[in-house]
């Protein structure tokens, strides 16, 4: 009867599906792609990062994070928090201003856009008149001062963004009180900086690009002081007591200016070029921080000698005789200092320097000697070396977890012990349900272990495989060695290092056995390493074997890279995963599949040439099998020749274009005059261009054949204890699937534990299945007598899984890119199948068995296949009947790298890269959902905070606003008046547009 039931017709199943499956994109891990602006609220202790795609992300204490997206998807240029409010203003590159606020809804805070506004000048005025260059949110929280390119400073009311035209500060008004011989109209072009007096909110400091600085009295609408700088101005900063300020300039100098009531046109106190005397680059931002001991901290960005260090991205910290120029590997976007925000405090006492560079966030502890870096709990630079693969392991046993953490902590000794200084908000999300590890393999031969249990993806431990090999690179991390008497005193900080010394070191496949602590790692040059977790440092030699995958194949030449050279003799390994076996495939092609069986102590690996099985207990190669078609030259020669041929074909096609152009010119060149020829040529060029644009993309329709390239490419390897030969005896087996739709099955004889070292492991081929549709085999799975997938090795031994049913007959599931097919075992005959490509035109990219629990009852769970297609859709397919359960669009189909990077977890979650540095986390399960949930409360406003009694009416209007908000919401006061309607919808919209934008 089952076959007549069409999916969707069984109401019971439909209800169950709702209890099991649900699709959510929950959180983005990693470092925002292309950050463009930074903001910080000392009041909320929250940091905001804006990006070039118009996203803003707020971060506080670990687990506290918010995300918003500007509809325009324009670059965020500036972010300013409104003092003492849960609000911030962003300026985009289209000159629009946006007011965002954090509001509580349903017990958690949410970030929402409240208003948007674009400054409009009088009709007919040039766009520069209103191009905003500087933003000052006044401490009264009522107005924003907007400096523009025209030199006008507009005043807009908050939150309505109403322009208060009578309060505009025009250059004419400014120039009234300044002697004309020093200044003219041009001195007041482009407002570079606006700073409020730290003690007197009625005074603001206005810095114009050409060097003129004016102290403006807001009460009397007049300039009280003016300061004549000779250099182009970059930025301004007030000293805490308001008696002095500091300006920094384009020529790499900074200047201190006194502010006193008796001198209306003071001379500079001190003018310094810190990295002179040779021409220096601009100092674009500067801080002046006072301390108890009297020695100030001067912290500035840039200012390096132009000729010799002009290419450095630096931030210098000067404190008395100490001076360090922190040297970043990527461009510095912006930075801020965390210092005492208590207005009563006499000194700034800076505690941390927070730098947003283009590729990472670096926080420097200014309190500890040597100014060490602070290990960030979030915003990790996933891409400090490009990610080449990832592997997820769910539910890590506590013991292994602790050992990995302890190994990692030994690597982190050079970090500061300072608690994370950005600690606003409260994380109210429930504790993560289990300990999950995400392992990322990188181009530089490292594997990073991330705590993926919760919202903060946090680096636990970093493993490097480089030590096993001889490379030109110096393995020593000389990150923090400071050269003596070097000037400027540069010090490299951060971990972002995009330059891989040797691409052959790249990690391609990872397999971790969470029960035994065995780890297998395979790389680009055919290297396979088996490692064991050791809590101590150790020095030992790595056993080395070679696997010749070509065997009898002759008459070819591998034109790809050479294999890696190994280090002879014992090698010192730090505590953590230490390699004890290295197998190198020959030819050294990239390892395309890897499987480890920790109970049988076997590791299987495959490349485009074949696959092999290695016994890592006896350290002996069991067998190799060549899967290569003899005519497959591309695979034989390796990746290099392919690139060459592409280059060649490109060159040829260019030549062809050139030739055709020349010949047609010749044909035309009859007798016409020069202009005619020129005209004709121009027309021809245009035609040629058009032709190139119009050349239709076409696709060849041809059945796959055995002669296709890369059919021997081993896509998947699988160990199973099943009935391979006959239905009475089961035995260990190894399965391999290739790109050409072939499945090989080998029967293994593993000696019993007591004789494991004495007898060799034997293997013999038992089956070879050629799928007629010849599509690449991407997954192989054996289902036991109860149609449950066989457990992982050692899972049963650790009582974490029921032992498989060996009574009933087993089934084999082969997943190709085009279809799912179940076969009987031991006699392989097709039992049922699900065609995907023939019906929908999509192909399987990733497939995993996932366990889905019901959110309604604790004791119901089932295993299904989670499938990602080349169109970016996720489908859930039931086992063992292969019925499509549900389908969700997840990744844009154009996002090839996103689709390629996707990993599923065992419990229906997944990760994929939305940029080189960010993982999007999603969940297919109703039960396992990891998403940020946090509250940001308004801290108690201290009594001696600025109180302004400027205009009583304005204040009254402000105070009367809180209405019928709930109890929770009262604290955030007047923010609540703009409560948005349907929060969930908005959030989803934001998320969907964000996806669309990428």
């Amino acid at each position: 009867m089952r076959r007549f039931l069409r999916p969707g017709h069984d109401p019971v199943r439909e209800r169950l599906k709702r209890d099991l499956f649900q699709f959510n994109k929950t959180v983005e891990h990693g470092f925002p792609h292309q950050p463009s602006a930074l903001g910080y609220s000392p009041f909320l202790r929250l940091m905001a990062i804006g990006t070039r795609s118009g996203a803003i992300k707020l971060y506080g204490a670990p687990g506290v994070e918010f995300m918003g997206l500007h509809e325009e998807n324009n670059t965020v240029m500036q972010i300013h928090f409104i003092p003492d409010q849960c609000q911030l203003v962003t300026l985009l590159d289209d000159n629009s201003l946006h007011l965002w606020s954090l509001k509580q809804h349903g017990g958690a805070s949410e970030l929402r856009e409240e208003h948007r506004f674009t400054l409009k000048g009088p009709p007919g005025s040039p766009p520069s008149a209103t191009q905003v260059t500087a933003v000052l949110p006044h401490s009264s929280r009522e107005v924003l001062y907007l400096g523009t390119e025209s030199g006008n400073i507009f005043v807009v009311e908050l939150p309505s963004f109403r322009v208060l035209e009578d309060r505009t500060i025009t250059p004419e008004a400014v120039l009234q009180r300044i002697p004309e011989d020093n200044c003219n109209r041009r001195s007041c072009e482009l407002v570079e900086a606006l700073q409020e007096h730290p003690k007197n909110p009625d005074q603001i400091l206005i810095g114009y690009s050409r060097g003129l600085i004016v102290l403006w009295d807001l009460q009397n609408n007049k300039a009280t002081h003016h300061f004549l700088g000779s250099q182009q101005l970059e930025n301004l900063y007030w000293q805490r007591d308001g008696s002095k300020f500091i300006s920094c300039h384009y020529d790499g100098s900074y200047t201190q200016w006194p502010v006193s009531s008796d001198n209306r046109q003071p001379e500079p106190l001190e003018n310094t070029v810190p990295y002179g005397p040779f021409p220096c680059k601009a100092i674009s931002k500067i801080y002046w921080q006072t301390t108890k001991n009297g020695l100030p901290y001067i912290i500035f960005q840039g200012g390096m000698p132009r000729a010799s260090y002009g290419d450095r991205h630096s931030i210098s910290v000067i404190h008395g005789s100490q001076q360090t120029a922190f040297d970043f590997t990527s461009r510095v976007i912006d930075f801020f200092i965390i210092f005492s925000s208590d207005p009563a405090a006499e000194f700034d006492d800076p505690c941390a320097l927070v730098v947003l560079a283009e590729e990472e966030l670096v926080v420097i502890d200014l309190k500890s000697a040597g100014w060490p870096a602070v290990h960030p709990p979030y915003l990790a630079s996933l891409h400090c070396s490009a990610i080449t693969c990832s592997h997820h392991v769910s539910n890590i046993p506590l013991k292994l977890w602790e050992r990995i953490i302890s190994a990692g902590s030994k690597q982190n000794i050079h970090y500061s012990s300072m608690p994370w200084p950005i600690d606003g908000g409260t994380n109210i999300a429930p504790d993560p349900p289990q300990r999950d590890l995400l392992l990322t393999g990188h181009e530089d031969g490292t594997v990073r272990f991330w705590d993926a249990s919760g919202v903060c993806l946090h680096l636990l431990y970093k493993l490097s495989t480089v030590r096993v090999f001889l490379t030109d690179a110096d393995p020593n991390d000389n990150m923090n060695t400071l050269g003596e008497d070097e000037w400027p005193p540069l010090r490299k900080v951060g971990t972002f290092d995009p330059y891989s010394d040797d691409p052959r070191l790249g990690i391609q496949k990872i397999y971790l056995c969470k029960y035994s602590g065995y780890l297998a790692v395979a790389g680009t040059a055919g290297q396979v390493l088996v490692m064991e977790l050791n809590d101590e440092d150790a020095e030992h030699a790595v056993d080395h074997a070679e696997a010749d995958l070509l065997q009898d194949q002759e008459g070819y030449r591998w034109k790809g890279h050479e294999k890696l050279k190994t280090r002879d003799g014992p090698v010192r390994f730090e505590a953590g995963f230490q390699p004890f076996v290295l197998v190198q495939c020959q030819p050294p092609a990239v390892v395309t599949s890897l499987a480890l069986h920790s109970e049988w102590k076997l590791v299987a690996f495959g490349t485009s040439h074949g696959f092999g099985l290695f016994d890592h207990q006896q350290k002996r190669l069991v067998f190799v099998k060549c899967t290569l078609h003899p005519s497959d030259q591309l695979a034989l020669e390796g990746p290099l020749s392919r690139v060459k041929s592409l280059k060649k074909s490109l060159r040829q096609s260019f030549r062809r274009i050139r030739r055709s152009r020349v010949s047609s010119r010749k044909r035309r060149g009859g007798g016409g005059n020069a202009s005619e020829v020129q005209e004709a040529n121009a027309k021809f060029d245009q035609d040629a261009l058009q032709e190139m644009e119009l050349a239709p993309v076409q696709r060849k329709i041809e059945a796959r054949s055995a002669e296709d390239s890369f059919t021997g490419f081993v896509r998947t390897l699988y160990f199973a204890d099943t009935f391979l030969r006959d239905s009475s005896r089961h035995c260990p087996s190894l399965w391999a699937g290739t790109n050409g739709g072939t499945v090989y099955a080998f029967c293994l004889r593993v000696p019993p534990a007591e004789r494991r070292m004495d007898e060799p492991v034997r293997a013999e081929q038992a089956k070879e299945i050629q799928l007629m549709h010849r599509a690449p085999v991407v997954g192989i799975l054996v289902l036991d007598g109860r149609s449950t997938p066989l457990p992982e090795p050692l899972e049963v031994a650790h009582d974490l899984s029921k032992s498989p049913d060996m009574q009933g007959s087993h089934q084999l599931l082969v997943v190709s890119e085009e279809q799912f097919k179940v076969f009987t075992l031991p006699k392989v005959s097709s039992k049922l199948k699900l065609k995907l490509t023939a019906l929908e035109g999509c192909r399987v990219r990733k497939v995993t068995v996932a366990n889905f629990g019901s959110c309604k009852s604790d004791d119901y769970s089932e295993n299904d296949l989670a499938v990602l297609t080349n169109l970016g859709d996720i489908q859930i397919i039931s086992l063992p009947f292969l019925k499509l359960q549900i389908r969700y669009p997840c990744i844009r189909k154009e996002d090839v790298s996103g689709i390629a990077s996707c990993v599923f977890t065992k419990y229906g979650q997944g990760f994929y890269l939305i940029s080189p540095s960010e993982f999007e986390r999603f969940s297919l399960s109703t039960k396992w959902l990891v998403e940020p949930r946090c509250i940001v409360d308004m801290p108690e406003v201290t009594s001696n905070n600025h109180v302004h009694n400027k205009s009583g009416t304005e204040n009254a209007a402000r105070k009367s606003s809180p209405g019928d908000c709930g109890e929770d919401e009262r604290k955030s006061g007047r923010l609540m008046e703009h409560a948005l309607l349907n929060d969930e919808k908005v959030l989803k919209e934001i998320q969907s547009t964000l996806e669309g934008g990428r």
Binding site: I701, S829, T837
Partner: protein, 361 residues
Amino acid sequence: QFGAEFRRFSLDRYKPGKFEDFYKLILHIHRIANLEVMIGYADVHGDLLPINNDDNFFKAVSSAHPLLRVFIQRQDEVDYSNFGTNTLSRKKKALVTLRNDNLRRRPHINISMPHDFRPVSSIIDVDILPETHRRVRLYRHGCEKPLGFYIRDGTSVRVTPHGLEKVPGIFISRMVPGGLAESTGLLAVNDEVLEVNGIEVAGKTLDQVTDMMIANSHNLIITVKPANQRNNIIRSSRMSGSSGQSTDSTASHHSLPTSHVLQNFHPDEMESDEEADIVIEGGLEPQHIPKLHSLTSSSLSRINGSSLSHRLQRDLVLNNNSGRESNGNIHKLLSSLKTDPRHSLVIPRGGIEEDGTVITL
């Protein structure tokens, strides 16, 4: 009186000569000059194909490796339906194109009965499709001929209730000379592809349609709107009336019949060839494996072919009875060995087995 008997003789592979001479030679060798016989041969796929003119004789000789097995039957005993039919189900397909190139070029030579040919393509569902559309089925019996066409993106104009509208469509962009698609004469450049194996391509990308066609390449059914509408099959009014679907003949310019199911066509048939995954049971010791495995996947079909001919020979010897019986046996053997989709072909060392039936859900 005319039982099975065997003769072995050699021919020059590259100069096989004329069919007439061959025919005479056969009759001479077998000393049956006074009989009208039908000559057939087993091709690489184990199909029994006829030899009755110069072209297919030449083809037979050139494809023999190393031996060509020739079957001789009395003309009056020949069961034509045996030729070139892989499955019993395929007998149902009667609409076979006659536009075989060599036939057009040389109309004077001996033309065989339609069922002497293997079907290459057919037009199906003529009665239910609008006249402007054509549903073409391409048979690919694992033959060497490539499908041989390319598709591209384009725009097509549809009639909608709001007037003419430009919509994206998929078109045939190129034919490979000598390919299956070209040789059928049923498809042409700029034909718009509307469906692939009963599934509409509207809203699908070029890559999706490509993947669908390749996934169905063993039995590809394409519904096209030919660029050249002059060669359409003109239905008699009676026929279209009887199909009960002619009402949409005006609407058909912009929409297909709502049913996505290919009507003249049992689902089982769609499954045909592609089901035959090949399973080799290897009871071989590891040291033997390299030998077996130097045979790569392409040689698998050859394994089948060669062991098939072994079997054939043996069976023929065993069934050395009357002509009628051996004829039946040949057919039975051929169909059981290679072609029935419901049976996986299992060739353990030397023997042939059949598996149980398959449940298709």
